[in-house]
């Protein structure tokens, strides 16, 4: 359904998806059955359009209902066309001045919707507003946008667009351009052989083109042709209720009559303009008519009437002027808002870019980390597997050894002769078990701190020495506890210590063993001394016991000293650096 009343200019654009159904009753029936969805919005708009001519009030009501529903549904397209509908309704009611805001709203919306129809329509509305205010320059600038869209998307509508362009040029007194476009349009419709068709579109175009031609010829002072086209166009325009064209024709005819000296006829037509319903919406036409009349009466020397119409012209001009101001203000407001929107859009765009950038960097970093973690995980998994296998093996071996130990112990009771042999077996088993236990302990990463080593040393020493009734004193620096020590080092250090303590337990016959461990700058120094019987260092040097101590010290890259004098105890010193 097309809003036929909108100032001539806008009639090109249909609602696109909206139906052509003009039957009010069937529309109403449809409406009652519909749910509150977008289809209902469409139906409301159709209804509104149907009431344009018959009842602008109903037209307005339906358009407003459509707007409310569309806003609720956030149905942008519906909002747009409802606003158009309201615009038209108010136009028909002659309440046009309120609706510049409405036109700007439509323009904003059209930018959001950004379809050719909405953009074209919105620009057309604004062009039309400025045209009816007499601001032809601004009208032209908006109309140019419409032409652009028309040329690209609606070539069939170009007829009407050119006709209107011609009218704008006419308003600007650029009569050559006005003539050019009017003729262009006329040529095309004649070429289409559409001049005589009776469908609505053609009639509309004929009305427009006739008016445009009339104005153009009048501008070129070709009054006969002008009159001809005005006369041709008038009934068509009346028929399809294109009020603006009707008014234009009246004004045009009146102007021609005046110029040709037929003053009474001129006055008659001019007065018809003043009584037109949409006069308020088309103030320029009122101004024109008022001026014409005052001129005419002046020529006829009827000063009262002259004054009357002069006053009317002035009041129209005043209201136009104040409206101009208001327009300017609203224009500025609109431009400000648009600028704000653009800035926000640019800001959000920038923000989005920054976010995207960070996301990308973050993602890359994450991927890198994930890669590293995965690799670590694989490694730890492998390590865990190794550990599990080792643990199982250790468990099996340990359990087997234990049972061998038990069995040989039981065997001892049954075969006293085999005692010594079995004891040897037992000793071997104990040895292996000890070694295994030590290795498992040393290899366990949980034991990588010095305090773990100290703990084990303590446990071992107190057990061994207690059994021999030797008192133990184990002292260590506080600072040692937290230090980390490698697998190699802790194994060697511990085994060195074990050997030394074993020696003390076996040979020293001491009452007390003192162990002192200090550290400075990661240099660990351990001193083990006992108050036993001592030994001759030189003698024992080559033996096994020394051998172990030397070996362990060497592996630690440590300084190792033994001092002993017979009857004066033994001192063992070890100094090494923690890696």
């Amino acid at each position: 359904m097309r809003y036929i009343g909108l100032p001539a200019i806008l009639l090109m654009f249909s609602f696109g998806a909206y139906s052509q159904n003009t039957n009010i009753d069937s529309l109403k029936k449809k409406l009652s059955a519909q749910k509150a969805d977008s289809n209902k919005v469409k139906t409301l708009i159709d209804l509104s359009a149907s009431y344009q001519l018959a009842s602008p009030d109903s037209c307005l009501v339906y358009a407003q209902r459509a707007l409310t529903l569309a806003e609720k549904l956030r149905y942008d397209k519906g909002i747009f066309w409802s606003e158009i509908g309201i615009h038209a309704a108010l136009y028909f009611k002659g309440d046009y001045p309120q609706e510049l805001a409405n036109a700007f709203k439509a323009l904003s919306l059209s930018k959001k919707l950004s379809t050719p129809e909405t953009t074209g329509y919105a620009n057309g509305m604004l062009s039309d507003y400025y045209y009816s205010q007499g601001d032809y320059n601004t009208s032209l600038s908006y109309w140019r946008e419409v032409i652009k869209i028309g040329e690209k998307r609606f070539p069939d509508e170009m007829l009407g667009l050119w006709a209107n362009l011609s009218k704008i040029y006419d308003g600007m007194n650029m009569h050559d351009s006005a003539m050019f476009y009017a003729k262009k349009a006329y040529g095309k419709i004649k070429g289409n052989q559409g001049w005589h068709k009776e469908d609505y579109d053609v009639l509309r175009q004929r009305s427009l083109i006739s008016t445009a031609l009339g104005n153009a010829f009048a501008g070129k002072a070709n009054y006969d042709s002008a009159m001809y086209y005005y006369r041709r166009g008038l009934p068509v325009s009346k028929n399809i209720h294109l009020e603006t064209n009707v008014i234009d024709c009246y004004n045009g005819i009146a102007a021609v009559y005046k110029t040709t000296g037929k003053l009474d006829s001129a006055a008659w037509y001019a007065k018809k303009v003043l009584t037109a319903k949409i006069g308020r919406s088309y103030p320029v036409s009122l101004l024109k008519a008022a001026n014409l009349l005052s001129d005419i009466y002046e020529l006829q020397n009827r000063s009262d009437s002259t004054l009357k119409y002069l006053r009317l012209a002035i009041s129209v001009r005043d209201s136009l002027f104040s409206r101009e101001k208001m327009t300017a203000v609203q224009n500025i407001n609109y431009k400000e808002q648009e600028q704000k929107k653009e800035m926000e859009a640019a800001k959000t765009k920038l923000q989005n870019q920054i976010i995207l950038y960070f996301l990308l960097t973050g993602l890359t970093a994450l991927l890198a980390i994930a890669g590293i973690l995965l690799r670590d995980k694989r490694l730890t998994q492998l390590q865990k597997m190794r550990n599990n296998i080792a643990d199982d093996l250790h468990d099996d071996i340990g359990s087997a050894l234990s049972s061998i130990g038990i069995l040989s112990e039981l065997a001892k009771a049954r075969s006293p002769e085999a005692l010594s042999l079995l004891s040897s077996i037992e000793e071997s088993i104990i040895n292996i078990q000890e070694n295994m236990s030590d290795i498992v302990w040393a290899v366990n990463p949980k034991n990588d701190r010095f305090e773990n080593v100290l703990q084990r040393m303590n446990q071992f020493a107190s057990e061994i020495l207690d059994a021999k009734n030797i008192e133990l004193s184990l002292k260590s620096d506080e600072s040692l506890s937290g230090l980390r020590i490698t697998m190699e080092q802790r194994k060697n250090f511990y085994l060195f210590f074990k050997e030394a303590i074993n020696n003390a337990a076996k040979y020293s016959v001491a009452k007390k063993v003192c162990v002192n461990i200090v550290q400075k700058d990661r240099q660990v120094e351990m001193t083990i001394n006992d108050n036993g019987k001592g030994f001759n260092v030189a003698e024992i040097s080559g033996g096994n016991g020394m051998g172990t101590l030397k070996k362990r010290a060497a592996e630690l890259c440590a300084d190792f000293k033994i001092q002993s004098l017979p009857q004066e105890g033994t001192i063992v010193k070890l100094k090494f650096k923690i890696a």
């Binding site: 050894l401 038990i406 069995l407 112990e409 037992e426 104990i430 498992v440 446990q459």
Partner: protein, 219 residues
């Protein structure tokens, strides 16, 4: 509780060990020892309650590393349903965390598998009689655990001054004998104090937060 005043006829020992050879050896060992007998030997703790009912033991030897229900869980279960039973956990590894967890769950004592058989028998007897030694490594962990208690907790149980003293000496690795000398008390008194410490430990470790902490360390 302990049976100091009763004549000990035979200590009934139940063995849970997944290694077949070791399990059979232990059975032999226990049966050959004076004053004790093996009333049941099982490869795992999956049918624990049933097995416990069949064996009806006084002392249980429980391997920590078994397939299915873990040794530690089994200790929990036994202490729940059969609180009078003493539990000896056996392990190849010196894994302090696991050992400590088992002790918190209610085990009286832990034994490394490399313990000489004669010492094993001794340990069973001692455990039955209620002696529960505390090694230095265990003592360290007990100390840590009590230190970490927050005052907010309702079940806040603190060690007495004496108990803390003894614990500190245990941490240093002193034997019961040495402690008795240092503190001018008898070895029995030392044992009693240690037993009290264990009891408090069991109560304390029943609290959820603690159990969780222990479990997390094991995972």
């Amino acid at each position: 509780m302990t049976r100091y005043n009763h004549i000990i006829l035979e200590i009934k020992v139940a063995i849970f060990e997944d290694n077949k050879l070791l399990r059979e050896s232990l059975q032999l060992l226990v049966n050959n020892a004076e004053g004790m007998a093996c009333s049941g030997a099982f490869p795992d703790a999956n049918k624990l309650l049933r097995h416990m009912q069949i064996a009806d033991p006084d002392v249980v030897m429980m391997d920590i590393n078994m397939p299915g229900i873990s040794g530690i869980e089994a200790v929990h279960l036994i202490k729940e349903k059969f609180p009078h039973v003493h539990i000896l956990i056996q392990t190849v590894f010196d894994d302090n965390d696991k050992i400590f967890a088992a002790i918190c769950a209610g085990a009286s004592r832990y034994m490394l598998k490399k313990t000489p058989p004669l010492k094993m028998i001794e340990a069973i007897r001692e455990t039955y009689l209620g002696g529960a030694p505390m090694t230095a490594s265990v003592a360290v962990k007990v100390l840590q655990m009590f230190r970490q208690q927050t005052v907010k907790k309702v079940e806040f149980i603190d060690l007495s001054g004496r108990e803390k003293e003894i614990l500190a000496l245990l941490v240093k690795g002193k034997s019961y004998k040495a402690i008795a000398t240092t503190c001018f008390i008898s070895i029995d008194t030392v044992s009693t104090h240690v037993r009290h410490i264990y009891e408090k430990l069991h109560v304390h470790s029943k609290s959820e937060a603690v159990a969780k902490a222990i479990n997390q360390k094991l995972v």
